[in-house]
């Protein structure tokens, strides 16, 4: 069992999310220390020194993102926590929102101080119910206790925090779409440049960070960047929350030290494969990351460099584990239906390409597949590569190409025999 814990440091109970218990665990002491003893620049320096990379999927160094904000430039800055958590397979931020909401609030007030932000937001997906109720209650508690609002803890620092609930849209997890959504318009992603840290919400410098990335701030400032770097790898320090779903005995959210052995994680931490079935493949970090086979991951460790060297990505930490006997054709059908449904329609390659690929895979599954269909799908997927404003087109393309490349035989089989090699199974049943 991976032993280092930076976020899941306490036993979860029915009351462990409350302000009272958060304070008993030392909560808000770091905020007090930062506001009284550190300058915003010192906080920025500490974050940069920690080397923490974004946990939302792109692994961009938080310090470099923050570094673009010019302090004292006379304009308002905004901060937004990305709690959209829409990438299928990902539910780690839900853990923080439900169980450690004050950790996010405290971290965000520190970030707001460091970035000179008066108005901060948490953009939360519309389907979240308990996470919303927990965070909303925490925000109210924090206002009441003087950790939010005017003159926080008697200093001249003020900050308001709004929870902004989405209304059902995958694309809103993309930072610029998220900000456009907050502006009250149809959430089309924006072209860069300008970067959001130059022109973001309401055309002002804006930092958008993932919930888990932000939640690390308290620990980094309490124990120092040096202590943080003692965990994980040199290039990719700290821990990660991995949300595991699919064919394992103990799905759930796990905190691992970055660099933890992958097979050991599945076989020991996650209780091994469901019904003792063999591992077929893993989608490492959310649906949009390239599939890796059991052989691919046999000796890999869970850190960005290793997973990228194997041709995929740690992404959002949403790991989907798939057992032998699962039909990859049906799985790709589910994926393409999803991407088709969620394409916002702004860019032609994604809007048309997702629907096109979805129609082809539906035809294959219906038994009307043609031999040229697979090359056609690969071609459409490649057409999305780098031709769309946001990363959704590319990501959907990579995911498709990844499955087609590694499991082409299953697609050929279905086209030739008009049926699945694996009886169309997605579910892992005990008997077979």
């Amino acid at each position: 069992m991976s032993s280092t814990k930076l976020l899941m440091t306490f036993p979860v109970s029915a009351t462990s999310h409350t302000l009272v218990e958060y304070r008993e665990r030392g909560g808000y002491a770091t905020l007090e220390k930062v506001l009284r003893q550190m300058t915003p620049t010192q906080v920025n320096d500490e974050i940069t020194a920690s080397g923490i990379q974004g946990r939302g999927g792109a692994a961009f160094p938080m310090g470099r993102k923050w570094g673009v904000i010019h302090l004292n430039d006379g304009q308002p800055h905004y901060l937004c926590a990305n709690a959209d958590e829409g990438e299928p397979g990902t539910f780690k931020d839900r853990w923080i929102l439900e169980n450690a909401p004050h950790l996010l609030v405290e971290s965000m007030v520190i970030a707001a101080y460091a970035l000179q932000v008066r108005n901060a937001f948490v953009y939360m997906r519309g389907e979240f119910d308990l996470p919303y109720r927990r965070l909303a209650a925490s925000v109210d508690e924090a206002y009441e206790a003087g950790y939010l609002g005017e003159r926080i803890l008697g200093t001249d620092v003020s900050c308001d925090l709004v929870i902004y609930r989405g209304a059902g849209s995958y694309v809103c997890g993309e930072a610029s779409a998220l900000l456009t959504s907050i502006e009250g318009r149809k959430p089309y992603p924006r072209n860069r440049p300008p970067r959001l840290t130059v022109r973001g919400l309401y055309q002002r410098p804006t930092v958008v960070n993932n919930v888990e990335t932000l939640a690390n701030i308290v620990g980094i400032l309490r124990d120092g960047a040096k202590a943080f770097r003692e965990h994980g790898t040199a290039k990719n320090p700290g821990t990660r929350l991995i949300s595991v779903s699919g064919h394992v005995n103990k799905p759930g959210v796990y905190e691992i030290e970055i660099g933890y052995p992958w097979r050991r994680f599945i076989d020991e931490d996650c209780g091994g494969m469901l019904h003792g079935r063999a591992l077929k493949c893993v989608i490492p970090g959310g649906l949009s990351t390239k599939v890796l086979t059991a052989a691919d991951i046999a000796t890999l460790t869970l850190d960005n460099e290793s997973v990228e060297a194997a041709g995929s990505s740690m992404g959002s930490g949403g790991m989907i584990v798939v057992a032998e006997g699962t039909c990859m054709v049906r799985m790709l059908q589910v994926m393409l239906r999803f991407y088709h449904h969620e394409s916002c329609g702004q860019c032609t390659p994604c809007r048309e390409g997702m629907g096109w690929m979805h129609r082809i895979i539906d035809r294959i599954v219906a038994g009307d597949g043609r031999p040229e269909d697979l090359d056609q799908m690969a071609r459409i997927a490649r057409m999305n590569d780098g031709t769309t404003i946001c990363g959704m087109g590319d990501a959907a393309g990579y995911a498709t190409v990844g499955i087609l490349a590694k499991y082409r035989d299953e697609f050929d089989y279905w086209i030739e025999h008009k049926r699945s090699r694996h009886d169309g199974n997605l579910e892992c049943r005990r008997s077979s």
């Binding site: 958590e85 299928p88 389907e127 119910d129 902004y164 209304a167 595991v244 779903s245």
Partner: protein, 154 residues
């Protein structure tokens, strides 16, 4: 919408001033919570209250999947069928709901009690398969569990 104005004023206070269009989504959500859907009269009232162009409200309403322009059943049953839930039997769950309620996804029972929808990823993949009934997320559902749940609803 009129009876919600006091509540809207309070929400407005925590937002940065001068950007009232940011209030469109939160207010539409609240209106839908109250009425069950967004009516034409709500849009008229919101145009008056926020002074944003009507087209902007229509645009937002038509884009997001959660907004409704028509009433639905008293209980909105939403079954996830993305990958993680599919790997643990979402197909069987959707089939079961279709047979049990005798409606297809997107339809409402004739007595107005249930509307069935299929949805994409509710971010609870570790407890798949999941079904949301109104605001509540039900985890690790089975046909038996669903039967018990549905029978308890009036």
């Amino acid at each position: 919408m009129k009876h919600l104005v006091a509540e809207f004023d309070a929400i407005r206070a925590r937002f940065p001033s001068g950007f009232d269009s940011s209030l469109v989504v939160p207010f539409l959500r609240r209106i839908q919570e109250d009425r069950g859907y967004v009516a034409d009269s709500d849009i008229d009232a919101l145009v008056d209250y926020l002074r944003v162009p009507r087209i902007q409200i229509e645009e937002v309403l038509s884009y997001y999947t959660q907004f409704r322009r028509k009433p639905i059943g008293r209980w909105h049953v939403q079954a996830c069928r993305n990958v993680s839930c599919s790997l643990l039997g979402a197909d069987r769950i959707v089939d079961h709901l279709t047979q049990k309620l005798r409606i297809r996804p997107g339809e409402t029972t004739s007595d107005g009690r249930f509307t069935l929808s299929t949805v994409e990823c509710l971010a609870s993949c570790g407890t798949a398969p999941v079904v949301m009934i109104n605001e509540t997320c039900h985890e690790c559902v089975t046909p038996q569990k669903l039967d018990a749940l549905l029978e308890a609803l009036t």
